[in-house]
Amino acid sequence: MKLKKISLFQVIILILSVCLTACGGNSSDAKRQDSDETASQNKESKATTDVVEIEFFNQKSEIVDFINDLIVDFESENPGIKVTQTQVPDAKTVLNSRIASGDVPDVVGCYPDEAEFQAMVSGDTFADLTGDAVLENVDSSFLEDIKIDGKDYNVPLTLNSWGIYYNKTQFKALGLEVPTTWDDFIDVCETIKATGITPLATSLKEGWTTGHIGEAVALSIAGADGACDFFADPSVKFEDSVYYGEFINRLDTFADYSKPDASSTSYADAAGEFARGEALMMPQGIWTLPMFQQAGMTDEIGMFPLPNDEGKGVIQFGVDLAVSISADTPHLEEAKAFAAFLASPKAAQYLADKEGSPSTITGVTTDVPETEGVTSLLFETGRNEKWYHFSWEPGIDGEWGNEVASYFVLRDAKLLAQTLNGLFEKN
């Protein structure tokens, strides 16, 4: 084959043009979701060139639009500051990679209870906010658990919690009362099953949902201190614990009153089952409510805490939205101003009205009757506990959830105990 003769000059031009196209695009453009309308509005009012730009990295896709609205308000009150919201899929992994490479966003939406956050703090990623004015509107009772070495590294804004959704309309039709004890709960499941409807809509496939079920079940049997030790006490193996037998029984209850293929049902499909009335209860967090509404559910929804033998179910909760400030940001004052704005009663009430999560800001009320059965317990002493996985090493909660999901398939209590002993280092 005869090759066409190419001149050296042509080759050099070709290479230069390839290099220029490669360098041309700004790679961060692909990641940023600019609040474009607000940007163009603000450009008209700003004639000065010393506008400070800060970035807010948001991990919660459900609240992107609400945050954009709040940014518009903030920028109109602070014409010298421009805020860009970044929200990408797989946000957790993206954030971890950015922090690992030293590219920490100015303001970061984070989950301060989680073990990974503590690992980030130990790496001096976030600024110490102890005693700062930015925290003045936050109810101090919510600051206690999330302190690290006695210091505050973030501003908690909203809370989440978990319980059992129930179809109020169908419960009334069947003459069912909200169960308060575990035996009542079984009776309710039996009654529903007898009518041919599935009692529980569960996704026993996804580790994070089964992990929640497992923790809630442990709490319902052992109470606050007992449940903590159930996981954390290295001297008592899982199979030797007094609670293990009942723990397995209650896990079996969840499986037996769900659809037979719950172990291959996704979270979205399970939510669909509840929304369509194919199941009358769903163990999930308050974050799922928008999904039922989006699926067009018309029946009334309520929530109750997972029952225990005492008849006073205890809910588990965590801080849902919280913001931290990068320790190395060149715009510390501006970042603090934005964080303080988010924590102001006006902004927090707006978020509460739109999103429905209970707020940590003093004086802010949330009016979501569907989840009230659970959220009202956040403010009742003795009826709420932080999730236990917050005190585990990073990554253990992921494995824990997957092992519980495996149990639902294999139904091998011995194997589960063995694996958990290894996971929680009880060997």
Binding site: V11, N96, E116, S264, G395, L410
Partner: protein, 289 residues
């Protein structure tokens, strides 16, 4: 003139070399360094721990289980791909009418991303197949096969084959069409039957293509991730957890980034060795152009 030609060739290959170095060589080197540390992927502590990650890998039962699944999956994929692609390619080669239509039909799955294919089949297995199973009265097909500990493996292999055959059929078809027709005619005249023609004439000609198909299929099998992620996420009960999934889980769900890197390097070495063996062995049998 010679010198200038050499310079041109060098400059022409420079962009590819730069891209290859940046996106392959550099991450590989970095990954190897991480595998010698104890980094969790989140904090900033990265202490050198030598080869202890590799030592732990060899005694980790999860690694052994996933290796077993991955090898069984790869073998099933290889056997299925080679037998079915060649069969379909032979059939397509012998069709005179509407060959273009059939070729397009068989190639369609290749244009979809592996993740999309996984998500489509996830829905089919969860919702459509159970209804069909109930219709024909089959108990095992009446529920989601992806939730069955024994059937999930075959469901995953089936989905991979459904997509994997597309490109390979085309590769074999073009190899078959490049075989000199007079050789086959001559063999036919000498009394060779179809089986002999295939094994003695056609097969030696398609061995270079077979090499490529084996290497690519084995690579896809050993590095399986996206279709398994979309179908089963490694479930039920970790029975379809591939090495690729385990590397992902170690790094991003269990925060053992260095341990995950060690596993990734180990797999790289295994695949490299297998590729070298395979290339050396088949050199003997191919027809050199």
């Amino acid at each position: 003139m010679q010198k200038q030609n050499r310079l041109i060739y060098f400059l022409l290959s420079l962009p590819a070399f730069v891209l290859y170095s940046v996106f392959f060589i550099y991450p590989l080197m970095n990954g190897f360094i991480y595998s010698l540390q104890d980094w969790n992927g989140v904090g900033r502590d990265k202490d050198f721990v030598g080869i202890s990650n590799y030592i732990t890998l060899f005694s980790d039962i999860r690694v052994r289980n996933t290796l077993s699944f991955t090898l069984r999956y790869t073998i099933a994929l290889l056997v299925g791909t080679i037998v079915l692609s060649i069969t379909i390619a032979l059939l397509l080669d012998s069709i005179i009418k509407a060959r273009g239509f059939f070729r397009t039909m068989y190639f369609m799955p290749a244009v979809l991303s592996t993740l999309t294919v996984g998500l489509i089949w996830n829905q089919l297995f969860s919702n459509a197949l159970p209804q069909f199973g109930r219709l024909i009265g089959s108990e095992s097909l009446s529920s989601n096969v992806l939730g069955d500990v024994k059937l999930a493996f075959w469901a995953v292999v089936f989905t991979a084959l459904w997509q994997g055959l597309a490109t390979n059929v085309l590769l074999f078809l073009s190899a078959l069409q490049n075989i000199p027709k007079d050789l086959i005619e001559a063999a036919g005249l000498d009394g060779a039957n179809k089986r002999q023609i295939f094994f003695r004439i056609k097969l030696p000609f398609i061995i270079p293509t077979l090499n490529i198909v084996i290497i690519l299929t084995a690579k896809n099998g050993l590095m399986a991730f996206d279709n398994i992620f979309a179908l089963t996420s490694g479930g039920p009960a970790r029975t379809t957890e591939s090495i690729g999934m385990l590397i992902y889980k170690f790094a991003f769900e269990e925060f053992k980034y260095s341990y995950s890197s060690a596993l990734a390097i180990l797999i790289f070495v295994i695949i490299g060795i297998l590729t070298i063996i395979q290339l050396r062995t088949s050199e003997r049998y191919e027809v050199k152009a």
